[in-house]
């Protein structure tokens, strides 16, 4: 397995949201605008990369029995760091992401990668895996955020992109819109896969 | 809901009776066919074993086979002549079955032991049952379960009620109706024999109230003979003639799910069977002929025909004026539960209550579309099943929970498929589901 593959697999082939259906809770909750999606995605990526590296680093020191508590401690620490920093540096964004920043702790992508990858591979590969998966998650959030913001608010990153005559489809930035768009995007990817395999 | 206050059952349908074509035509005897084909298995249970050889000369009523077990009955020569062949031939059930082919000598000489027997009522129970078995009688309503078995209930199931089934709820069929009108005495006397065998305190005949003439005749005959039997006039509803539905309608007793009528102290027999029982016990006459209703748009002269067992459909239909050009489907039995036949060379057997010939227009079934969950099948199911769910499970090959859904209680009456607006043949799916469940049961031992 080449290092390049480890980096890129998370973006499409093993995309955490669309292919593995991991981390759906924050995906559904904060993909109502591109900005939120991007902020959440980058915050999670930061935690993912850092925790992957640290866990890979200490993987041989940690007995199997207590690995999960140790992973959680590591992840929770990074999440708290992100939480504090965002609160200080990007106060508005932090407010709109609200509870979902602390909830990165229980995001199954991060614990999942720690358990499935970082706990078994060296630091370099774990770093690449974290970056890849984090990017995949961020891309998924941005994609959903784009769809939902454009349809539901007529804007992209807060800038109106469709003329004033367009009446935004409000439901798209409401919770049902998250389910609708994630369903259709997943369906679209499945359709592509089906066509590929036929 | 009060469905028990009327003499009926819950669910059911009202298909057009379509009986007018033949209900007033008296039974006429079909001329002897040149050959008869007599399958060794015309009943439910083990096939009987041939005891004659090719080339043997037989007289009408001669024994051709011996029973293959307790749940089995013999078959008899229905004409006199020579055994031409003993080979598999097409059977009404669809497959080829070992059959004894007799070529007629056109003399129709009867076995000499057949004739009126004195004091037959005084015979002991075992002798009566033996005569019934030896005569080869199997339920003539269509189910063809050996009659002697039904009349020998195990000792722990006391029978207090005997019911004669004259409901004839299947559309088109009139053979039982005509029999009740023309042979009421034999039917009632046959009933008397059965009651004497069972020792039942109550006995009655259930007849749908669209046959008032039959009800009148039966009541008069019973009165003339001085017997205590009742005639129940039942509302017209399909499947009124199904055993469990008949029992609940008359006695208000519900046969337990998975159980038999004897579990509630009842035995039910068809009117034709009662007459055959009379002839077997009082005349030692084996079951070699029966009344067949030949009807439907596809036949020129619909009528009720007394035909020898083994008469090929072709001979029977020729006697009824032949087929119309637009024939689409030939059904043994009624339109609801009858079996579509593939060939005209198939013979009449003991359970052939009718031959229904549908024209092309009625034969083709419309394309099945998806179920819209209208629940009409649930409303009409006389067994209170949920046919739509059963059929869906079968369709998607989910068999493991079918037994828990009581699929085995289905009586295959066809009411669900009759009312289905999506033209789904629910019975077909459910039959297949039952088959799978039985297979799994066998595997599990």
């Amino acid at each position: 397995m080449s290092a390049f593959k480890e980096l890129t697999k998370g973006i499409y082939d093993q995309n955490p949201v669309f292919k593995q259906a991991l981390g759906l809770c924050p995906t559904l909750a904060v993909s109502n605008s591109v900005e939120n999606g991007l902020g959440m995605g980058l915050a999670a990526t930061f935690v993912l990369v850092c925790s992957n590296v640290i866990i890979s680093l200490i993987r041989k020191l940690v007995p199997a029995k207590i690995r999960i508590p140790v992973y959680i401690v590591v992840i929770a620490s990074f999440v708290t760091i992100v939480d504090y920093s965002m609160n200080g540096l990007f106060h508005e964004l932090h407010k709109s992401l609200g509870l979902f920043i602390p909830l990165i702790v229980v995001n199954c992508i991060i614990l999942g990668r720690a358990e499935a990858f970082a706990g078994k591979n060296n630091i370099f590969l774990s770093l690449l895996d974290g970056i890849g998966m984090g990017l995949g998650f961020t891309l998924a959030l941005v994609l959903l955020g784009t769809i939902r913001e454009i349809l539901g608010n007529g804007s992209f990153l807060g800038i109106p992109v469709i003329g004033a005559s367009f009446k935004p489809v409000l439901i798209m930035i409401l919770p049902p819109g998250a389910f609708l768009s994630i369903g259709f995007v997943m369906g679209f990817f499945n359709w592509i896969e089906n066509r590929k395999s036929n | 809901m009060g469905f028990l206050t009327k003499r009926s059952f819950s669910g059911g349908i009202h298909p057009p009776s379509s009986k007018n074509a033949t209900k007033n035509s008296a039974i006429i005897t079909c001329p002897l066919p040149s050959t008869v084909v007599i399958p060794v298995s015309q009943h439910i249970g083990a096939p009987s074993k041939p005891i004659v050889e090719v080339g043997a000369a037989v007289k009408t009523g001669d024994l051709l086979t011996e029973p293959g077990g307790f749940i089995s009955v013999p078959v008899h020569a229905s004409i006199s002549g020579t055994v031409k062949a003993i080979e598999p031939r097409p059977h009404p059930l669809g497959n080829d079955v070992l059959s004894i082919v007799i070529e007629s000598d056109e003399k129709d000489e009867w076995n000499s032991s057949i004739g009126p027997q004195k004091d037959y009522l005084q015979l002991d129970k075992q002798e009566k049952i033996r005569r019934i078995r030896d005569a080869g009688i199997a339920g003539m309503g269509g189910a063809t379960f050996p009659t002697h078995v039904k009349l020998s209930p195990p000792g722990d199931k006391p029978i207090d009620t005997f019911l004669l089934n004259g409901a004839e709820c299947e559309p088109y069929l009139t053979s039982d109706h005509r029999l009740m009108l023309e042979q009421p005495k034999k039917i009632i006397l046959g009933m008397q024999i059965i009651v004497s065998i069972l020792g039942a305190q109550n006995a009655g005949i259930g007849v749908e109230n669209n046959k008032p003439d039959a009800i009148k005749v039966l009541r008069k005959t019973i009165a003339d003979l001085g017997l205590p039997y009742k005639v129940y006039s039942l509302p017209v509803k399909y499947p009124q003639g199904a055993e469990k539905q008949l029992i609940v309608a008359v006695t208000k007793r519900a046969v337990p799910a998975g159980g038999l009528p004897m579990d509630v102290g009842c035995v039910v027999q068809n009117v034709g069977t009662a007459m055959a029982v009379y002839e077997a016990v009082a005349e030692k006459k084996p079951l070699v002929e029966r009344v067949v209703t030949v009807t439907g748009k596809g036949v020129k002269n619909p009528q009720n025909v007394l035909a020898r067992i083994g008469t090929p459909y072709s001979a029977l239909l020729e006697f009824c004026g032949g087929l119309e050009d637009n024939v689409g489907k030939i059904i043994m039995g009624g339109p609801m539960m009858g079996l579509a036949q593939a060939s005209l060379e198939i013979p009449v057997i003991k359970g052939t209550s009718g031959l229904l010939i549908l024209d092309e227009k009625f034969s083709k079934k419309p394309q099945e579309i998806t179920c819209i969950s209208c629940a009409r099948c649930v409303d009409v199911c006389p067994m209170k099943l949920v046919p739509t769910i059963l059929a869906k499970k079968v369709k998607y090959n989910i068999f493991d929970s079918l037994e828990k859904d009581n699929v085995l209680d289905c009586i295959e009456c066809g009411s669900c498929a009759y009312v289905c607006p999506s033209q789904i043949n629910l019975v077909h799916y459910i039959k297949y589901g039952k088959h799978q469940v039985m297979k799994a049961r066998k595997k599990a031992g």
């Binding site: 109502n32 200490i58 020191l61 940690v62 007995p63 029995k65 207590i66 508590p69 140790v70 401690v73 590591v74 929770a76 620490s77 708290t80 760091i81 504090y84 920093s85 609160n87 200080g88 540096l89 106060h91 407010k95 609200g98 539901g152 608010n153 004033a164 935004p168 409000l170 930035i173 409401l174 | -």
Partner: protein
């Protein structure tokens, strides 16, 4: 036994490291966070107490109540009014507003501090309509007597947002409630 000690030791070590790292981060970000919060509050106060000097706004704080006094001069000259924070549950969240009133009880300015109402409906209380310079709350409340505010559905003069009557009413009633509380306190004093 030894195993337990070893496991416990590792766990302890890791938590100690994590705690140390966190306390470091905390000490760095704490001033930043407070700064950001302060800025936010200042921004709200400039809206609520429009006309007061930015450095002439003073927090009045005691055990039970907090409010702000606004002056046109830095040295507590020319009191123009007071600001207080009030909140009420709307359609799906607490709607927190900063309300500024003059000494007669007329609303000077108002700003929604936080809310999580339905996007596109309830959130419009804090948004500017197309081509407007003021948010809905500013437009509706500024210049009105705080005590008499009521939405149109209740017979008042606050024009509620179509489809977001609940949010509109919650803001309106919270302004009234908040003013009532403030008034009680100030008269007691």
């Amino acid at each position: 036994m030894k195993d337990v000690l070893k496991i416990g030791g590792i766990l302890l070590a890791i938590t100690v490291i994590a705690a140390a790292a966190l306390s470091g981060v905390y000490s760095v970000t704490k001033p930043l966070i407070e700064d950001a919060k302060q800025k936010e509050q200042d921004a709200a106060l400039t809206v609520a107490l429009a006309g007061a000097d930015t450095s002439g706004i003073y927090k009045v704080e005691n055990e039970e109540y907090v409010y702000y006094e606004g002056f046109t001069e830095r040295e507590r000259q020319n009191l123009i009014g007071y600001a207080f924070i009030t909140s009420k549950y709307g359609y799906s969240s607490d709607i927190v507003t900063m309300v500024g009133v003059d000494t007669a009880g007329t609303i000077i300015g108002i700003k929604v501090l936080s809310q999580q109402e339905t996007p596109g409906l309830g959130t419009r209380i804090a948004e500017k309509a197309y081509g407007e310079t003021k948010t809905w709350v500013q437009k509706q409340f500024e210049g009105k007597t705080a005590m008499g505010c009521a939405v149109d559905k209740d017979g008042g003069s606050i024009i509620s947002i179509t489809g977001a009557t609940i949010s509109s009413r919650a803001v309106t009633n919270s302004v009234v409630d908040g003013y009532k509380k403030f008034n009680e306190f100030i008269t007691k004093k």
